[in-house]
């Protein structure tokens, strides 16, 4: 039964597994791969945020990268001005969270749903892209930070120990920080989804009017989900700015927005593990393809995606989950793989 196997056993096991991976990976993987892995981990946090609001909240957001980008820009601009990274880190969560809340208020309370919502979020993202891209003139400066237009902001200072700007985060440190963040977000979201709040969110996705007729203010629940998702995406953006040490309007681009969606679908909507898995898989493939000259990278990736939809329509995680459950051969592994909440 659904309620059971989402039980705590699976969650504890997943946490332990995550921690083990986090500690073990740097020992077995070479430094370049570590840097690459770090970027996957960061993007997985972004994927999780969309996994929440789309997979569970049913909110079709085509602009998740907007919050990601706002988080990154907020961090970059603030840290260049402040030096110390503590407040910038908080801002990178709060600013996109607030932005999501405002946008959500503007839209949910006007009862905008479905593709209409999707296209507005996409449009907002494109506006940010255009606007940020048009700030290359020298007059566009916030405090000490020039916005840089299409070129973006280079040389973004890394996170540091609170109050000690000279104790900056190393590459390894960033990996651990990102890993812990990913794990914390994952566990936090699983707990949230088990609560009454989570149940209602899913119910609203299934049938908004019925949920309202049962006394739940769908607008509020959606707004809250959206804001949480926005804040998480912003945090990922901050980590990303740390990882690449730069930030440019590309984060708001169409390609970036679409990628997040692709990760979530490939992994499996309606799960939390799915977005993480999808994100790792696709990014790994894309990097590998970029390093070879034989075939056009787009050609191969496109073929893979199409083949994937036709052969693994539910997404990776639900497919594996179903297979494990059907085989019934390892009752301890199966609960690790979440069941998808959408048929």
């Amino acid at each position: 039964m659904t309620a059971n196997w989402q039980g705590n056993g699976g969650l504890v096991a997943a946490t332990v597994l995550g921690l083990v991976l986090l500690l073990a990976l740097p020992q077995i993987v070479d430094p370049v791969m570590m840097i690459e892995l770090t970027s996957y981990v960061i993007m997985a946090i972004l994927a999780l945020s969309l996994g929440l609001i789309w997979g569970y909240g049913g909110i079709l957001c085509f602009g998740q990268s907007a919050f990601f980008g706002i988080g990154a820009y907020a961090y970059a601009i603030a840290v260049i001005n402040f030096g110390d990274s503590t407040i910038p880190l908080l801002l990178s969560i709060i600013v996109p969270g607030l932005f999501a809340a405002l946008l959500g208020y503007f839209l949910f309370y006007a009862r905008i749903t479905d593709v209409y919502f999707g296209v507005i979020t996409l449009t907002v993202t494109l506006i940010l892209y255009k606007v940020m891209g048009a700030t290359s003139g020298s007059q566009y400066v916030i405090g000490a930070a020039p916005l840089g237009g299409y070129n973006g902001i280079p040389a973004v200072p890394p996170l540091n120990f609170p109050g000690r700007p000279e104790l900056a985060l190393s590459f390894d440190g960033l990996f651990y920080l990102s890993g812990v963040t990913l794990l914390a977000v994952y566990v936090g979201l699983r707990l949230m989804l088990k609560s009454r709040f989570g149940q209602v969110v899913v119910a609203i996705r299934e049938n908004e009017r019925r949920a309202e007729l049962l006394g739940y203010d769908a607008r509020f629940y959606k707004l809250a989900t959206f804001a949480i998702g926005g804040a998480i995406a912003g945090l990922a953006g901050c980590l990303f700015a740390n990882w690449g040490m730069f930030i440019s309007p590309d984060v708001f681009g169409l390609a970036q927005s679409a990628q997040v969606i692709i990760w979530v679908i490939v992994g499996g909507t309606g799960t939390l593990l799915g977005p993480i898995v999808g994100c790792f898989a696709i990014q790994w493939i894309a990097t590998k393809l970029g390093a070879q000259q034989l075939l056009n990278a787009n050609l191969v990736l496109g073929t893979i995606l199409i083949g994937f939809v036709l052969l693994v329509p539910k997404g990776v995680v639900p497919t594996i989950g179903d297979a494990l459950r059907r085989l019934k051969f390892c009752p301890y592994v199966a609960p690790l793989v979440e069941q998808r909440r959408v048929p």
């Binding site: 048009a134 973006g152 970029g290």
Partner: protein, 381 residues
Amino acid sequence: QEDTIKIASLLDLSGGLDAAGKPMQDAITFAVEEINQAGGLLGKQISLITYDTQTDMRLYPQYSQQAALKDKVSAVFGGITSASREVMRPVLRRLNTLYFYNTQYEGGVCDRNIFCTGITPAQKQSKHVPYAMNKWGKKIYTLAADYNYGQITAAWTRKYCTENGGQIVGEDFFPLDVTNFGSTIQKIQEAKPDFLYLVLVGGAHQSFYRQWAAAGMNKQIPMASTTMTIGGEQMVLSPEETNGILLCFNYFEALETPANKAFLERFHKRFGADYPYVTELAMATYQSVYLWAEGVKRAGTAERMPVIEALESGISLDLPSGKFSIDPQTHHCVMDINIGQIQDRKINILESFSQQQPLDTSGVCDLKKNPDDNSMYVIKV
């Protein structure tokens, strides 16, 4: 202990910038092959590791790290836009890997770990703008790509225009993906300039030339461009659309020097007689490999610091584009400048200026005095 010397190229071979990137890749491949055929460097062969950065911002730092940490190359060549350079530069500096940036750009980079072989505004526009004004008149309308390069180039244009008693009657900036220039063409007609000064970049902006010609304006108002031919555009557009455009570069295929003639012969033997055009960026890339190789030879090693010091000792080579030397103070290059004009897909050279200094950058940057400088100066025009 290694039996080859490794270098890496990080260029956009796919995605929006690959029209510029592919000829550069051909050029670096060719340079490496030539050196290897001539016996290599310090008795070793050079091996070239190629990364396709796919016009994707995220791949520049990633591949830079990979080249530095995993491949342990002795130098990285590449990056096309200023944006990509500014992403690669801090990474390579931190990982102690020498970096060659080979695109014409807005000037101002000041970092001992990088050498910039591209032409900068003080070298180019100081000649280009007055030349065009003499030819056509004093009223200029500038159309520029909307990013650092375009903005700063437009600012330099303004400077040289006013210094020569001219007037900017209009200035528009276009993001790289703009393809519709209809309104702009009306605006230009309203402003009635003597000529257009174009800093348009990339494939999308090519449509300007088509729309301009379709409106019949190519017969009315002449054009000068800083970027035309960089991706071989003149081979794609029709002659009517490009005839008469005034250019200014370090290199044109039409250069009459023996070095260039020999180069073109070898190059076409390797890549076929119908190879469209050796672009400015390709030539800068090709020449940068020779500069680096010379540095390695003089240093007797491919290690970073000795090579930098050798290059700073004032290397000067006779290359296809003429005499080409490194300016130790700025790590930019001193080179010949040529004015050319397109006629039926060929470029005729109209005038040459020898050995221009990178005056813009040297105004802000002195690596001899401040070897630890690590900035990208925005030069006050």
